[in-house]
């Protein structure tokens, strides 16, 4: 029997989720194409990481968002267990700053009921402070949605893809789609910088560039505009933190500035919301105004923030905004075999597992009428790299006795051992990553993310990579070609000057 060839363009959280769900079926050859050196480096990397409950998606305005967010939230509960993804489920508080905001809050309570979001209710100040000790006591009230979670988005994408690859999905990094071949109104394959790949189905999950990919298939109406969101992150030693996820009442443009504590224990504030021109799809620059805006808004919903000097990093990400906020999730007859998953802005991350199932059930099986049979042997489980720091003493000791590299703490700020870094390199190679990068190590082990931001450990990690890959130290890259650690050996400039 011939295998159905499926190409997914974009290894972000949506593309990865589709790959994982498809990997459950037999007689499929699934190729996940990613133009960057590693997975999740587009939008997913800089999402806030909130697994939204779904009470902020008006089912009349955005029926798809509403349905898939609630279902996605539920599915994540299972996925994080199967895939060993770090997550907290603290629940969320939508803060009504003033009396007049309470009407707004009631509107979202109504949506919670309509969408079937469990456990949502209005809380007064007394209960608010019990739920969150560090909430601003001078607000009007809040909407409590207990099913909200906060995930590490990069850990999530990596976990999903490791599992998908374990189940025979092929990942192709540094692979950029330049054209889509269509013959007789059917998909034939894609042109990439690494050659032509045959395909029967092409699923466009290319995030910010989903409009470009869609145009390659002759579907021109997809427009995706970048909306920038800046964030600031505090060191894990910064107190006070918050227990819950907090944000003010949403506006039509944005759900607002969130204040939360990440699964790693860092206070996180963000995002801002700034619309950029359509072609600014790589502008993730930060600004002083952005940081000031975040701290100002956080100050409105939180009683006490840690000292500003404890902010160890600011960064920004881009969201893919479709013109009317509506997700474009469609399967087309012309060309047959092409599926768009475009403009998937918030709650994209929260909905990803549900989007993936929707693609498979309603579009591939439904609209395209493809017969899919589940594999007899599908591996649902995947274990994360050991988090040495959090193990009890006996387990730590046992690991070191088995492998002394666990006894070598390379990143002091986050207590990350050499063994974990080597494991990260191993796993990157296993899923098919072509260029081992410092960022790849960072997202898998949390090395480089502490108080010193790598000023102590970056060179040590680069040495480990250089030794393992047998490449010169200076050629180790931060995030792919063009970001090498150095330019050559220390005498390279003097040797090139003519005598």
């Amino acid at each position: 029997m011939m295998k159905l060839k499926v190409i997914i363009v974009g290894a972000g959280v949506v593309g990865a989720s589709v790959a994982r769900v498809l990997s459950q079926y037999e007689k499929l050859e699934v190729h996940l194409l990613e133009r960057k050196p590693d997975v999740g480096w587009g939008i997913s990397k800089a999402t806030t990481g909130i697994i939204h409950p779904g009470h902020e998606e008006d089912p009349e305005e955005y029926p798809l968002r509403a349905k898939l967010c609630v279902r996605g939230n539920y599915l994540w509960h299972r996925w994080v267990k199967e895939l060993d993804i770090p997550i907290r489920w603290p629940g969320e508080l939508m803060i009504a700053l003033k009396e007049k905001d309470l009407k707004n809050v009631e509107y979202y309570w109504e949506i919670a009921r309509k969408n079937g979001v469990p456990g949502v209710r209005l809380v007064d100040n007394e209960e608010l402070l019990k739920l969150e000790r560090n909430a601003n006591p001078n607000v009007a009230g809040a909407l409590w949605a207990p099913t909200a979670g906060i995930i590490n988005p990069m850990k999530a994408v990596i976990a999903i893809i490791e599992n998908a690859v374990e189940n025979e999905v092929k990942l192709h990094t540094e692979n950029c789609v330049s054209g889509i071949k269509i013959e007789n109104w059917k998909i034939r394959g894609v042109e990439t910088n690494r050659g032509f790949i045959e395909a029967d189905l092409v699923i466009n999950a290319a995030g910010l560039y989903s409009d470009h990919i869609s145009r390659m298939a002759g579907i021109d109406y997809v427009i995706v505009r970048p909306r920038k969101g800046e964030y600031c992150v505090f060191d894990e030693t910064a107190y006070p933190k918050v227990r819950r996820i907090l944000h003010p009442t949403p506006t039509p443009i944005t759900k607002g500035v969130y204040v939360t504590t990440t699964p790693e224990g860092n206070l996180l504030i963000g995002p801002t919301a700034q619309d950029l021109p359509e072609d600014a799809k790589e502008d993730t620059s930060t600004s002083k105004e952005g940081l000031d805006f975040l701290l100002k808004w956080a100050g409105k919903i939180i009683r006490e923030l840690p000292s500003k000097s404890k902010v160890i990093r600011t960064y920004a990400g881009l969201r893919p905004e479709p013109p009317d906020g509506r997700w474009i999730i469609e399967a087309y007859d012309d060309p047959w075999g092409f599926i768009n998953i475009a403009g998937v802005r918030s709650p994209g991350l929260a909905s990803a597992p549900a989007i993936a199932h929707h693609i498979v059930e309603s579009l591939i099986k439904g609209k395209f009428d493809v017969k899919l049979v589940k594999k007899k042997k599908w591996i649902p489980y995947r274990k994360d790299i050991v988090k040495f720091r959090h193990l009890p003493r006996e387990k730590q000791n046992a690991l070191i006795k088995g492998n002394p590299a666990y006894g070598n703490v390379v990143c002091m700020c986050r207590v990350v051992t050499e063994a974990e870094i080597l494991e990260a390199i191993k796993r990157m190679k296993k899923i098919g990553i072509k260029t081992i990068t410092l960022d790849g190590i960072k997202f898998r082990t949390f090395a480089l993310t502490g108080l010193c931001q790598g000023s102590y450990c970056r060179i040590r990690i680069a040495k480990i990579i250089a030794k393992k890959l047998d490449i010169p130290l200076w050629s180790v890259t931060a995030k792919g070609k063009g970001t090498e650690y150095g330019i050559g050996n220390v005498k390279v400039l003097l040797r090139n000057i003519p005598s």
Binding site: Y315, L451, G486
Partner: protein, 417 residues
């Protein structure tokens, strides 16, 4: 290696602050154990190939490397126990006289019991986010120490067109290193109206190599898709705020952040040690004991020093403090006199003096001044100095009898002559 229960001083850090402490402790008849995270002992001076080290301590003008090996020779001679590639993750004060310290080593987890700890783990460098540089998070941004390790230990070249942020000694010295190795140092950027480092370094590092020094200037943004392409700079006012309309740009592929050091002590902070906001390090008495009984601090973990000679002295002082603690089963209860910062004094270490013995205090000024006197009004002491600068620590010896002239506080201030 002796039994794990057999030590009475645990020294955290194998740089000059820890080595000198361990050496002194052994010389005093104590049983020190030293823990170092890197694979080799020596700390930061191992990568300091320039001279200016040991002028007071060894009475010679040594390179950082030469000084390190003098210390290491002495350390080996005394046969002091140590672990490299090891990391102290936690400690608990079980009682006033007993601390349990957990150490991760390649041989397994060690639990060491000791009455005293000397914390000498040094400083971390301020990085780009610390100084609020915004823009793109491009490759090609290094802290000065990282660049120094790259060039002068690992032998790799960070980049070719350099902008250095910060004109302290570290920044100036790296400017010269880059220029000597053939890179083009486009500028050194300094927010203050005067250079941060020693004048001798401004001359030998910048003037000698025709490197422009931009005072009253700040780097506000980085631009670069993959690697740094340019920086946006701006003049700043007295409050370090950018002056509108004074923006400029400098093309470069490398940014070196030489914006200063901060004591690195998350281990002590997690135990709620009292920190002096002026130093960023622990508040200590003249035994160099922190607010945690039996826990001492020395070197850059205590206060950012300009000369390694001060670090070596502090290490010895901390060892003496540990000795007193062990011999007397704790430090005596005394009425400590508080050091008070007067005019133009930014920091003073130690913050408290017992009056039980002579004390050495280290201080830094806020602004440069010429022809001044350092005054301690409460104890009627006055020392004339030709010049003081923020980059140079002032070291003053206070005699035991001088200290006891005051009942409570001792103010230190600068007055013009």
């Amino acid at each position: 290696m002796s039994m794990q229960d057999d030590y009475d001083v645990l020294v955290i850090g194998g740089g000059p602050g820890g080595l000198s402490a361990a050496i002194k402790a052994k010389e005093l008849g104590l049983r020190p154990l030293l823990i170092e995270n890197r694979e080799i002992l020596g700390g930061i001076p191992l990568q300091c190939i320039h001279t200016g080290f040991g002028i007071h301590y060894f009475k010679e003008d040594l390179t950082g490397t030469e000084l390190t090996y003098r210390l290491l020779d002495k350390f080996e001679e005394l046969d002091i126990d140590y672990y490299t590639g090891a990391h102290v993750t936690d400690f608990a004060s079980v009682s006033y006289l007993e601390k349990k310290v957990r150490v991760i080593t390649a041989k397994g987890i060690l639990d060491i019991t000791t009455p005293t700890i000397i914390y000498a783990a040094g400083a971390r460098e301020r990085h780009a986010f610390d100084i609020r540089i915004t823009g793109d998070r491009s490759a090609g941004i290094y802290t000065a120490g990282e660049a120094q390790t790259m060039m002068d230990v690992e032998g790799i070249m960070p980049g070719r067109e350099i902008v250095i942020v910060g004109s302290g000694d570290v920044g100036l010295i790296m400017a010269r290193r880059f220029a000597l190795e053939g890179a083009k140092v486009k500028a050194v950027i300094e927010t203050m109206p005067y250079p941060g480092g020693l004048l001798r370094n401004v001359v030998q590092c910048l003037y000698d190599h025709n490197i422009p020094l931009h005072l009253n200037t700040s780097v506000t943004r980085v631009i670069g898709k993959k690697r740094v392409e340019k920086v946006i700079i701006s003049q700043v006012d007295g409050d370090l705020r950018p002056v509108p309309g004074t923006e400029g740009e400098i093309e470069c592929d490398t940014i070196i952040i030489a914006a200063g050091l901060r004591p690195y002590l998350p281990l002590l902070e997690s135990k709620d040690v009292i920190i002096d906001p002026a130093t960023g390090g622990p508040v200590v008495n003249d035994y160099l004991e922190t607010s945690i009984p039996g826990v001492f601090a020395s070197g850059n973990a205590l206060v950012i020093n300009d000369l390694v000679d001060h670090v070596l002295e502090q290490g010895e002082r901390a060892a003496e403090g540990a000795y007193t603690f062990i011999k007397n089963k704790g430090l005596p209860t005394v009425r400590f006199k508080r050091m008070i910062k007067g005019k133009n004094i930014r920091l003073i270490v130690p913050q408290y003096l017992s009056g039980d013995k002579d004390a050495i205090i280290y201080a830094r000024v806020i602004k440069p001044m010429r022809d001044i006197a350092v005054c301690f009004p409460e104890i009627e002491k006055k020392i004339n100095l030709p010049a003081v600068r923020p980059a140079e620590m002032i070291k003053v010896k206070l005699g035991k009898n001088e200290i006891t002239r005051s009942k409570n506080g001792i103010r230190m201030e600068l007055v013009h002559l």
